[in-house]
């Protein structure tokens, strides 16, 4: 096992998939010689050749559209979108095409592809290099949406996503690219999609979170422990299809729930968690289900540290919910 950053784990995952399966291709803007703007694809072109890892013209519509065609015709494309903020030109291809191809063709055509893209704040990227758009995709039946928060999961979930028969959007928390490190097994292992991870055991409050909010939440949970609040932290890992049963069990078992994400609150992913609980576990709730989220504004630049939920805001919610 190697001790890798999340970014290295992704590079390792791509390498492993490319080595094990010749039908896996990696492409996107600047992923070749440059190795990607974050270096997630570093040296893949050198090591696997320009037929397996290559740059594309500046068109996300083309990147995803072509990936769908490749996937239809037997390849396993892994397309990179340079920043999640720039995925919107491909929205039609993702939402109208990749997500609906199996259904509309009665299973005759399918699109087993992976779209990797860095998302979230923390790099002073302003409106267009910071967004967390998961909710847009989670409202789209036919897609899978995955967000790792540890190097181990990043590699294992990526390998599961590449092997998956359906289109997967793989959202990489760029704030964690180099800030988290961890043990990563060698070779091809898979973390099954649609499974939760208990990042911290606890009995009084459950927090549901994912991606870059996991370490923030863990920090808040540590501080809360000091003041006697025993917090369970659930890393959702796969947002769609969500392990709804698992979410409800955790919610019921503590009766107190906080949901944390970076994206704006209104119609954000957190709303679905709250709604599931309001529909299937309301009688177990001993407190309001509180969301700690980005604000319902575009993402600012200079003041991004105020926009992003931090451990103080999570802690505040934990206290509110615990002492309700």
């Amino acid at each position: 096992m190697a001790n890798l950053t999340l970014l290295q784990a992704i590079n390792d995952g791509l390498r492993t998939a490319m080595k094990d399966d010749p039908s896996v291709l990696v492409f996107g803007e600047d992923v070749g010689k440059k190795g990607g703007v974050f270096l997630a694809t570093e040296n893949l072109q050198r090591d696997f050749g320009a037929n397996r890892c290559f740059d594309t013209p500046l068109s996300e519509d083309g990147i995803v559209g072509c990936a769908i065609g490749m996937a239809m015709n037997g390849l396993r494309p892994v397309a990179e979108i340079q920043f999640q903020d720039f995925i919107f030109p491909a929205f039609d291809q993702i939402v109208s095409e990749a997500a609906k191809l199996r259904y509309r063709s009665g299973g005759q055509y399918t699109a087993p592809l992976v779209i990797r893209t860095p998302y979230g704040g923390g790099i002073r990227g302003g409106l267009y290099h910071s967004q967390s758009g998961e909710a847009y995709f989670c409202h789209t039946p036919g897609l899978k949406v995955v967000v790792p928060s540890t190097p181990h999961d990043a590699k294992g979930l990526l390998l599961a996503a590449i092997a998956d028969p359906d289109p997967v959007l793989f959202l990489e928390p760029k704030a964690l690219y180099r800030s988290v490190k961890g043990e990563v097994p060698e070779g091809n292992y898979k973390v099954p999609l649609s499974t939760l991870r208990e990042a911290r055991a606890g009995t009084q409050v459950t927090v549901f979170c994912y991606g870059a909010m996991v370490p923030v939440t863990l920090k808040a949970a540590e501080e809360a422990a000091a003041s006697g609040i025993d917090t369970r932290v659930i890393d959702l890992r796969t947002l769609l299809p969500l392990d709804e049963e698992g979410v409800l069990e955790h919610a019921k078992s503590t009766g107190r729930v906080v949901v944390v994400h970076e994206a704006p609150r209104f119609c954000g992913f957190g709303a679905e968690i709250s709604a599931l609980i309001a529909e299937h576990a309301i009688e177990y709730m001993e407190a309001p289900v509180v969301r700690v989220t980005g604000f319902d504004t575009p993402f600012p630049n200079t003041l991004e540290h105020h926009y992003l939920p931090d451990h103080r805001r999570v802690l505040d919610a934990l206290e509110r919910v615990a002492h309700f």
């Binding site: 072509c66 015709n73 509309r104 055509y109």
Partner: protein, 374 residues
């Protein structure tokens, strides 16, 4: 390399003469093309009747563009792929997709390959040729064809991919990204722009200020060729050249086939609201089927009696297909919930069970009486 043409290629003269052109097709092949055109026209006419009498919800008129469809399709092998538009009935029929399978789609019944999920004319076939599932959003299939072609190219296969779209389709995002990627990758794709003069009610001069559509290839380093779309041989010839070049690694071609749809945009559309009557008259004289008939007659392969017999046979075939498809019931309720993913996830399964359960509790026949079968 500048192969772009601006004058449409024409082979069959209005009187059926070909000035000694040798189509290099056997009698059987020629009659197969003719039969495919007849099939389109009969399919078209019967669907119009079915729609007018409320038995199907919608259809897309194909009259007038049969030569483009059949001419282009005839240049492909069964191992090639077609990424069609919704107005490409003839390509499927030429390659032997049974009319019955197409009628199952028109009725959206339990035997429809797409399980009644799509509107009529949104076909999907993997046999006898890949005729890729049609999508309503315009142009999205164009980069997909390029991606599929790139896959074949990387594997060293010599498959060719035909992407077909309209004049309006050239304004779409997919046209821009698809042709651009194909130019850079030298993909084995033939882009067939069926310029029928209109995108619903939008005439070409309001669609683009370019000098025709073939020239748009210049923006991507792709040769563009203009052809008389009502001339089966001409369409076949330019498509075959493009296919041969693509198969040999010479990259993509953009073909502009100039034609006209004699009907409305769809059965919901009344073209008289916007198409000047002269246009109908002009193009009526250039009917692709009549023109090909004249050729066949001149070549001694067809006469009035034979043509009449074939027409009847074809009409009977389509009518029988329609009758048979109409007998088939709707798809099972579980088809609402399957094929979203390879495996049905819990939340969707529960939604299906909920619907079945409600049907049971309410005694509602539609909702099925068994338990949720997935």
């Amino acid at each position: 390399m500048n192969l772009t043409t601006t004058q449409p290629l024409q082979v069959i003269q209005p009187d059926g003469g070909v000035n000694g052109y040798d189509p290099k097709l056997s009698e059987a092949e020629l009659l197969h093309c003719y039969r495919a055109m007849l099939l389109v026209r009969a399919f078209d006419a019967i669907c119009l009747k079915l729609q007018r009498s409320g038995r199907i919800g919608f259809s897309i008129p194909n009259e007038g563009i049969e030569a483009t469809q059949v001419g282009a399709a005839s240049a492909l092998k069964k191992s090639d792929w077609i990424f069609p538009s919704y107005r490409d009935f003839g390509m499927a029929l030429y390659h032997g997709v049974p009319a019955l399978e197409m009628m199952h789609n028109m009725f959206g019944n339990a035997q429809d390959g797409a399980k009644g999920r799509q509107m009529p004319v949104h076909f999907s076939f993997v046999q006898p040729i890949h005729f890729v599932s049609i999508s309503s959003p315009i142009g999205t299939h164009i980069p997909q064809a390029v991606g599929a072609a790139h896959a074949a190219k990387l594997r060293g296969e010599d498959t060719v991919f035909l992407a077909s779209f309209g004049d309006g389709g050239t304004s779409s995002l997919g046209f821009h990204s698809g042709l651009n990627f194909a130019g850079v990758w030298k993909s084995p794709v033939v882009f067939l722009c069926q310029n029928n003069g209109w995108a619903i009610s939008c005439p070409v001069e309001e669609q683009t200020a370019s000098d025709g559509f073939a020239i748009k290839g210049e923006a991507y380093g792709i040769p563009g060729v203009v052809v008389d779309g009502n001339d089966l041989f001409a369409v076949r010839k330019v498509t075959l050249e493009a296919v041969v070049r693509a198969r040999a690694g010479g990259g993509p071609t953009l073909i502009e086939a100039q034609t006209f749809r004699m009907g409305g945009h769809s059965t919901s559309d009344d073209p008289k609201r916007y198409v000047p009557p002269e246009q109908f008259e002009y193009w009526k004289k250039r009917d692709p089927l009549a023109r090909f008939e004249k050729y066949l007659e001149a070549a001694g392969l067809l006469n009035a009696a034979k043509s009449e017999a074939l027409r009847k046979e074809v009409e009977a075939e389509i009518a029988a297909a329609a009758r048979a498809a109409e007998q088939v019931g709707p798809p099972g309720l579980e088809t609402v919930f399957s094929d979203v993913y390879a495996e049905i996830p819990t939340h969707i399964r529960k939604q299906g069970e909920g619907l079945f359960d409600l049907g049971r509790r309410r005694g509602d026949a539609h909702a099925g009486d068994g338990k949720f079968p997935l």
